[in-house]
């Protein structure tokens, strides 16, 4: 059985300013709002050992005001026009975005101009100290003080060698955060926060001509910073490495990660379908086997990161009470092997593609995420147009493609394993 999928379309125009800033405009007048998205091609992968967490700390600093927009004003100005704004840092990129009613597009662009062109003069040690403290608290709240919170950090340390830029966490290590200097922040900013290392997307109730005109007005005079050298990328060496962590938790949880082809490749798409087929939906292979049929797991999930140097495929499952982590591992391994050896059905593939599409539609339903997706394709794949191509490439995935990537990439030797087990006295019998 084959289902037909109406192609998704995301009409947009792209252009590059003389200073290298790439601009993408996507007009959609459904709601009188516009998403303004600035994505810098710099993330935690552009940090160095000993200064991890710098990209993210800098992101925090860049909400603390600029030469012509004092601390606090940034948020207040946007609030006043009904806008929202945020930023985030990940392995390959840092982004800043506003969603504003259509009358305030220029304000959002002006604020981003301030961020790109007028930040260094206000950067001082007091600002650094406060945000360093906020980030250290963020690390505590989101990672250290949360059950299983340090598992992914450990997983990436195992999956990549120590000098590979995906081996450390985006939040950074606390001693590195404590050691961070103003000079570190200035260097990173000067190197990466420049028009020729950024993509600007305007999505929503804004016309193409207005979008390009405004981009030029607010960014055209900013100077390029020249070619930036990129961190060398080493191959990963998981070699089946595994470790166990004790945590204050009631149930064991297992984490697998595999380094796979990067975002933008056909194989990445096949792996994405595999990921949905394995664990999205209650009839998916892993959920059915682990949760329903054998009652070994409370939950099981898979993910595939759309990352640039390598994709990262993950599987994780939490044990039911009385189930030890080894039984859980064997059960997951069996399901993956069954797919590698026996393949999948056409119906499973169609269902998985539809569920991928459901999630794509859900994120494309709002201009904020649409802008981000266009910016990400433009940043990591060099062209916003690749997004539409990728979204529509799922329709051609076949059962053999899914089996092949399971065989090729989900082998034991390719993966890193972290097992989190209950620490202390209340350890259940495993």
């Amino acid at each position: 059985m084959r289902s037909t999928f109406k192609p998704l379309s995301l009409p947009h125009s792209s252009s590059t300013l003389p200073n290298g800033l790439r601009v993408v405009v996507h007009e959609d007048t459904t709601s009188p709002i516009v998403a303004v998205h600035l994505m810098y091609h710099a993330g935690s992968k552009d940090e160095r050992v000993g200064r991890t967490g710098l990209a993210h700390l800098l992101e925090h600093l860049l909400f603390e005001g600029s030469e012509n927009c004092p601390k606090g004003e940034f948020d207040r100005l946007l609030e006043r026009v009904g806008g929202t704004n945020n930023g985030s840092t990940w392995l390959d990129r840092t982004n800043y975005y506003e969603v504003v009613p259509s009358h305030a597009v220029e304000l959002a662009l002006w604020l981003e101009r301030e961020r790109m062109g007028h930040f260094l003069p206000v950067l001082d040690s007091e600002m650094l100290d406060v945000q360093r403290s906020v980030v250290i608290n963020e690390r505590k709240q989101v990672y250290e003080n949360r059950p299983y919170g340090l598992a992914h950090e450990k997983l990436h340390e195992l999956l990549f060698p120590p000098d590979h830029p995906y081996s450390w966490p985006t939040i950074g290590y606390t001693p590195d955060l404590e050691a961070m200097t103003l000079e570190d922040a200035r260097d990173f900013y000067s190197r990466y926060y420049a028009p020729d290392n950024a993509v600007l997307v305007l999505a929503g109730d804004v016309s193409e001509s207005e979008g390009f005109e405004l981009a030029n007005r607010y960014f055209g005079d900013l100077q390029a910073s020249g070619v930036r050298e990129r961190a060398a990328t080493n191959g990963h060496v998981a070699e089946g490495r595994a470790t166990e962590l004790e945590d204050r938790v009631s149930f064991p949880r297992i984490y697998y990660a595999y380094a796979v082809p990067p975002f933008g490749t056909n194989e990445w798409i096949h792996l994405d379908v595999l990921s949905y087929l394995l664990a999205d939906g209650e009839s998916s292979r892993l959920q059915r086997s682990l949760i329903r049929d054998h009652e070994l797991a409370q939950d099981v999930d898979t993910y595939l990161h759309p990352t640039e140097l390598a994709g990262i495929f993950g599987i994780e499952a939490t044990a039911r009470s009385g189930v030890g982590p080894d039984r859980l591992r064997v059960a997951v391994d069996e399901v993956v092997e069954q797919i590698a050896d026996g393949g999948v059905t056409d119906a499973e593939v169609v269902g998985a593609i539809r569920r991928v599409r459901r999630d794509h539609l859900n994120s494309l339903a709002n201009v904020e995420e649409r802008a981000e997706e266009l910016a990400y394709a433009s940043t990591v794949l060099s062209s916003a147009g690749r997004l539409e191509e990728l979204l529509n490439a799922y329709a051609t995935v076949e059962a053999e493609d899914v089996q092949r990537v399971a065989q090729t990439y989900l082998g034991v030797e390719n993966r890193a394993t972290v097992v989190v087990v209950p620490g202390g006295e209340d350890e259940p019998i495993g």
Partner: protein, 445 residues
């Protein structure tokens, strides 16, 4: 030479002054009632081929039988575990093949069955939704499996200090006799004892069309939605009333003791400051929203965020929230701070609350909050999913049908005096419970 010179300074451009804001447009839904009494609220949003829907029925944990806490929640978890036409496996294979997601959320007042679909599978999806709400069968094997999962989940959630803090705060406000003081998921003892018969009875009496509402938005296709829904829901009938609620407790003991729960070696202290709020359909909800926005509804620009995060760097985030409910819900300040500053942070929070009580907010703060709330409307109605959420609020809490249309003018009318009066009623520190989950403060060793 300094690195700053690598790029020459750029000229400042004057900050643009935004012109006239767009008039917030709120969709006009179609409203009709099916023959079986199910109310329908529908908004056509062609564009992307997706449909989002939600059925809301008064089958929340407030309707749990007195001796069977957790009934509503377990019923919700079991809705998608078999119907009169499908085994649990067949049903879930069907949902997954359609590319749909069908999830149930059980709160205190309501159970909500949420559906997300590709437009091309709309009719099949509506059929499944109808089957699930009308004919769930509660197969014994699935009851036992889902019960065991719930018991594990009840245990696992106490691994998180944030959950422990939330639970104590709710109990401090409402006690354990009022449904709002108890978790919808129930208790370990209660869930262990639940009988399948009780679940079936609860479903039979509470999942009824007359008394519920379906909200649906998205690419609804060209056909007549009403007749498609009549067909899909034709075998569902009967009516249901809201459950009776016990009298509301008086709220936390005035100036009660600080409740501290020791969490050894914790890197942070979880803080909750909580009291009684107001019902969602109270005329005070709008001024309360503005008051709360100024205090801590806006996590960074609010007074709490500006103080604890932006000024002191003690926390990644702090916020305050009025919990919406048919009856007065909680009002809660929540944050997690570095363990060493836990007591200082609590003091600062109380200082900010007292300031809201003692002094009127500035005109500038009021204007900024009002503009922010009004101008965020287009964003709040941007997607089918958000439209469904906003309209579900109207339906669930008996708000006027033009609630969102009149929202801007109501916000505009809010005065500084009204905000002060909300602060006196809801934010006065001596009327609030205080909970800390974290390491023992020094000296208590």
């Amino acid at each position: 030479m300094s690195r700053l010179a690598e790029r020459p300074p750029v000229a400042a451009i004057p900050r643009p002054r935004p012109g006239t804001p767009p008039i917030p447009s709120v969709p006009e839904p179609d409203r009709f009632t099916l023959e079986n009494g199910l109310r329908v609220v529908a908004v056509a949003r062609p564009g992307l081929p997706q449909v989002v829907g939600r059925i809301v029925v008064p089958a929340g944990s407030a309707a749990d039988p007195r001796d069977a806490p957790g009934t509503a929640h377990l019923v919700g978890s079991l809705l998608t575990e078999g119907t009169d036409e499908h085994s649990a496996i067949e049903l879930n294979e069907r949902i997954d093949l359609l590319g749909a997601s069908l999830g149930v959320r059980v709160g205190h007042d309501y159970s909500e069955i949420a559906l997300a679909l590709l437009a091309e599978t709309l009719d099949e999806g509506l059929d499944l939704l109808a089957r699930v709400v009308a004919t769930a069968t509660f197969p014994p094997r699935e009851v036992e499996r889902v019960r065991a999962e719930s018991l594990d989940a009840l245990e696992a959630r106490l691994d998180e200090p944030a959950n422990v803090a939330d639970d104590h705060a709710s109990e401090a406000i409402f006690g354990t006799e009022h449904p709002y003081g108890r978790l919808p998921i129930g208790t370990i003892d209660g869930v262990r004892r639940l009988r399948r018969d009780t679940l079936i009875d609860f479903h039979r009496s509470r999942y009824r069309p007359d008394g519920g509402v379906l909200i649906i938005a998205g690419d609804l296709g060209g056909g007549d939605l009403r007749s498609r829904l009549e067909t899909a829901f034709s075998s569902w009938d009967g009516s249901v009333e809201r459950p009776l609620y016990p009298d509301l407790p008086a709220g936390p003991e005035p100036s009660g003791p600080l409740l501290t729960i020791d969490w050894e070696d914790s890197a942070q202290g979880e803080i909750r400051v909580a009291g009684l709020g107001i019902p969602r359909n109270s005329p005070d909800w709008v001024p309360a929203t503005v008051a709360n926005y100024i205090l801590g509804g806006s996590t960074i620009t609010g007074r709490l965020g500006a103080n604890l995060r932006e000024d002191k760097g003690w926390t990644y985030g702090v916020r305050s929230v009025f919990v919406p409910g048919l009856h007065p819900g909680g009002w809660i300040v929540e944050t997690a701070v570095g363990a060493e500053v836990t007591m200082d942070a609590l003091e600062e929070i109380e200082r900010e609350l007292q300031r809201m009580v003692d002094e009127p907010v500035s005109a500038e703060e009021l204007t900024r909050a009002s503009e922010a709330l009004i101008l965020s409307l287009p964003h709040a109605f941007e997607t089918p999913g958000r439209i469904v959420s906003r309209l579900a609020t109207v339906e669930a809490f008996d708000l006027e049908h033009d609630y969102w249309h009149r929202f801007p003018e109501r916000i505009h009318r809010v005065t500084r005096e009204e905000i002060r009066s909300i602060a006196v009623t809801c934010f006065s520190p001596d009327r609030l419970a205080r909970v800390i989950v974290g390491p023992k403060p020094p000296g208590e060793g």
